[in-house]
């Protein structure tokens, strides 16, 4: 609120000043709140149980830095996998072919219906189900065969689990994006002699992606943090590496602080990049379709904060 600065003019043309109001209650409430926060922060900062010098020491420890790099690329890979498969399943769900539609719906139902933590552990243990993965041309002996355990590392399991899960949520966003493209343009393309797949590829998808891409930044930001779940399948990410260290030296809180600082730093950078993306694609459009992020909900579901995957009432339609 800005305050009036111009004085009032009295009946004789004289200036009448304004008595400022002090808002005593605001000051009191503010002071109490500040005291509470300071007290809470001081528990951490001045606690003799937290060895801050060790936090500083581990912040740039090689194992931690490697974890940061792994977290970034796992997040990127899982987001890209989620985006690509999400587009594929959205198109399948909108297809006229009932078999494709049914498969897409079953896929989405399955991956949205089971916790991501369960999926992570499942992929990691794929070897129990398929000891070997064989790619072979039927009726010949030409082919390849891999030991599943060597193929599915903690990181691969993480990319698969997080990416496939994201794609199931993302399919809905993509579908909303596709349906947001004006039907008149589809008709014009058909009237102009394009086939259904040309219409989708040349007219609809490019416009739908413009709507879909900005929120993927949001998904990526959530994904950065969701990767901490990888700790259960032991990958090379930040959280796993930190836990490896604190399991040895028992500096649990210190290493969690190190992790938090890095996660916050990555989030800040990603948020800045997102703002550039928003500028590029138009912020209004981005905000219109942004809801709670998918990754956030995956994390909530996995960590037990039970929240049913209800559809947002907003424009996001997911």
């Amino acid at each position: 609120m800005t305050r009036r600065t111009a004085p009032f003019i009295g009946p004789q043309g004289e200036e009448l000043s304004i008595a400022r109001r002090w808002h005593i209650r605001r000051w009191i409430v503010g002071a109490i709140a500040l005291a509470a926060v300071l007290w809470f922060v001081s528990i951490f900062v001045f606690s003799d149980r937290i060895r801050w010098e060790r936090v500083g020491e581990y912040l740039f420890y090689e194992h931690i830095l490697n974890g940061v790099v792994a977290t970034i690329w796992i997040s990127l890979a899982a987001t890209v996998l989620g985006l690509v498969l999400g587009v594929l399943f959205a198109i399948m769900k909108l297809a006229k072919n009932p078999v494709l539609k049914w498969i897409a719906e079953a896929y989405i139902w399955f991956f949205r219906g089971t916790p991501v933590l369960v999926q992570l552990i499942f992929w990691f243990n794929l070897a129990l189900l398929l000891p070997y993965i064989t790619l072979k041309i039927p009726f010949t002996s030409i082919g390849m065969r891999w030991d599943t355990n060597s193929l599915i590392s903690g990181d691969t399991a993480a990319i698969l689990g997080l990416g496939l899960n994201l794609s199931a949520y993302f399919a809905e966003t993509v579908r909303a994006g596709i349906m947001a493209v004006d039907r008149g343009q589809t008709e014009a393309a058909k009237a102009g002699g394009m086939t259904s797949s040309q219409t989708m590829r040349i007219i609809v998808l490019p416009q739908a992606l413009k709507i879909i891409i900005p929120p993927t930044a949001n998904e990526f930001i959530s994904m950065l943090k969701t990767t901490s779940l990888i700790v259960v399948v032991a990958g090379n990410d930040l959280m796993t590496n930190a836990s490896n260290i604190y399991k040895q030296n028992n500096l649990v809180i210190e290493l969690l602080i190190v992790c938090s600082i890095w996660y916050m730093f990555m989030t800040a950078i990603a948020t800045y990049l997102q703002s550039l993306l928003e500028k590029r694609f138009g912020a209004d459009r981005v905000r219109a379709i942004r809801g709670t992020s998918i990754g956030q909900r995956m994390l909530d579901a996995a960590t037990g904060a039970i929240r049913l995957p209800v559809r947002n009432g907003g424009k996001g339609a997911r």
Binding site: D182, G184, Q185, E187, A188, A189, K190, A191, G192, G193, M194, T195, S196, S197, Q198, I202, I203, P206, Q207, K210
Partner: protein, 256 residues
């Protein structure tokens, strides 16, 4: 040339329902090559549905609809009508241009790309050739200077002329117009009508749904009055405009 050879559109007893609502109740309609057929009629009388049936954006339930030599949606082989696939539809539609009330330009393309899109992807012209042809078509509708503008940077009248250029670029045998000026501000109507008149005078076969009776009188070869899913009257424009039919009269008096 026999009479039926010069028929570009031949509809007999065309029927179409949406659910239980019968929108076309037996349409008989003919368009000869080079003719400009204008359709008027009250809202909901089935004008758009019939126009869209001609290029298969709506499928008819019964009757016969032959457009540009084809029974729309089917080809006759071994005494049976085989349903068209995606490719058959695309090939057929590439011979028929359509202009919509709401322009329906591709929002992510500029004017030139809008016109070139089907040339590249349907006619399989090289990019350079397609752009050259697109530029010619934009020039033809007086928009050579606007080729790099996106639809939202163009006025309604300009958008509609781009849409016309886009349809013309495909060198169609038949052009369908569904109320091409109804979404335009009054001062922009004339630029679109002038473009269409030039097209009519150039010998293009056109079916035009419009309430611009003046256009029908100037360049129309026939004027049809649709009412509740049938062609209530069809005649030369001058004659139909003088009709005694009270229903047609009262409608025409209102739109003029």
């Amino acid at each position: 040339m026999s009479e039926s050879n010069s028929l570009l559109v031949q509809a007999k007893g065309v029927r179409k329902s949406f659910g239980t609502h019968e929108v076309l109740k037996g349409i008989d309609f003919q368009v000869h090559k080079g003719e400009v057929s204008v359709i008027v009629g009250p809202s909901g009388s089935g004008k758009s549905t019939f126009l869209r049936a001609m290029n298969g954006l709506e499928l008819i339930d019964a009757g016969s609809l032959i457009v540009d030599g084809e029974q729309v949606g089917y080809s006759l082989s071994d005494g049976r009508y085989r349903e068209w696939g995606d490719g058959d539809w695309a090939k057929f539609r590439s011979r028929i241009g359509m202009v919509f009330q709401r322009f329906n330009l591709y929002a992510h393309f500029d004017a030139l790309e809008n016109v070139a899109a089907s040339l590249i992807h349907v006619k399989k012209l090289s990019k350079a050739k397609a752009r050259e042809r697109a530029r010619e078509q934009l020039d033809r509708v007086g928009l050579a200077d606007h080729s790099h503008k996106r639809p939202h940077q163009l006025s309604g009248g300009q958008q509609q002329r781009v849409a016309i250029a886009r349809a013309l670029a495909m060198d169609p045998d038949l052009m369908l117009f569904d109320e091409p000026t109804s979404a335009l501000d009054p001062e922009l109507v004339d630029e679109v009508l002038e473009t269409m008149k030039a097209l009519a005078e150039g010998g293009m076969t056109m079916v035009v749904v419009t309430h611009e009776v003046g256009f029908a009188r100037e360049v129309g070869d026939s004027l049809a009055f649709f009412d509740e899913g049938i062609v209530m009257e069809k005649d030369e424009p001058e004659l139909l405009l003088k009709t005694e039919n009270p229903r047609v009269r009262s409608f025409l008096d209102r739109v003029r």
